[in-house]
Subunit: 150 residues, 2 copies
Amino acid sequence: MTPTPMDLALEAARAAAARGEVPVGAVVTGPDGAVLAVAGNQVEADCDAAAHAELLALRAAGAVLGSPRLTGCDLWVTLEPCPMCATAAGLFRVRRVLFGAYDTKGGGIEHGPRVFETAANLHRPEVIGGLREREAASLLRAFFAERRQA
Amino acid sequence: MTPTPMDLALEAARAAAARGEVPVGAVVTGPDGAVLAVAGNQVEADCDAAAHAELLALRAAGAVLGSPRLTGCDLWVTLEPCPMCATAAGLFRVRRVLFGAYDTKGGGIEHGPRVFETAANLHRPEVIGGLREREAASLLRAFFAERRQA
């Protein structure tokens, strides 16, 4: 069975956890649904606080297509994007942002600064939250519970 | 005379304009004031909508210091950062954000989602706006005026 984009994002999140990174994974699919990029969070490995899964996947997809505009593409991610990544999804002009768990503390779409709702926002992707929510959230919960015990 | 960080950021902005990129430049200085990174906008050249000057300079400084946290460092930029770059400055834990021109349309600190004012925001750098404002703004005005005529 072909894995779905969210399967791949969850797999990338689990791989991030195994490397000691906060378990978030992201995938960008093209207008035809083909997978253009898959990435997991690698902030610590890259010494890069901006190396969130979403930003890495968006940048990789831009490189694949040879364009800073990902028209018609979708961003799939296991956690509600933070304001940095949500804004980046808009700058890359993605068609849809589909995410797993809601992030009441760090999220930037349904929470916090709600970046797409600002009057000056130029491009507002369609947003679908709560996909495989339990699975995505339990990965994060397990990671932080383990850290607290360590 | 040693150029100031804002001199270097303005120079990077002019170099960006010469490459056909929106003229924004950024510099990161360390706790001792030493220049760690200088970058200009290179969205088109990199096929990367996230290749804003600020994000490039922050990432480069993280690589120089070998850490995703730029504690005590300052981000200097010719234009008020967008919500993506403002959030990134917070994630990188910079001490101060010092910018030139205000961006009433695309800015994310004093305008739009005002990302540092969200209750859930974890790190709020000191913000100083309006440094060399006229010079920074006139670069942008000249660039867009030329584009409209082309």
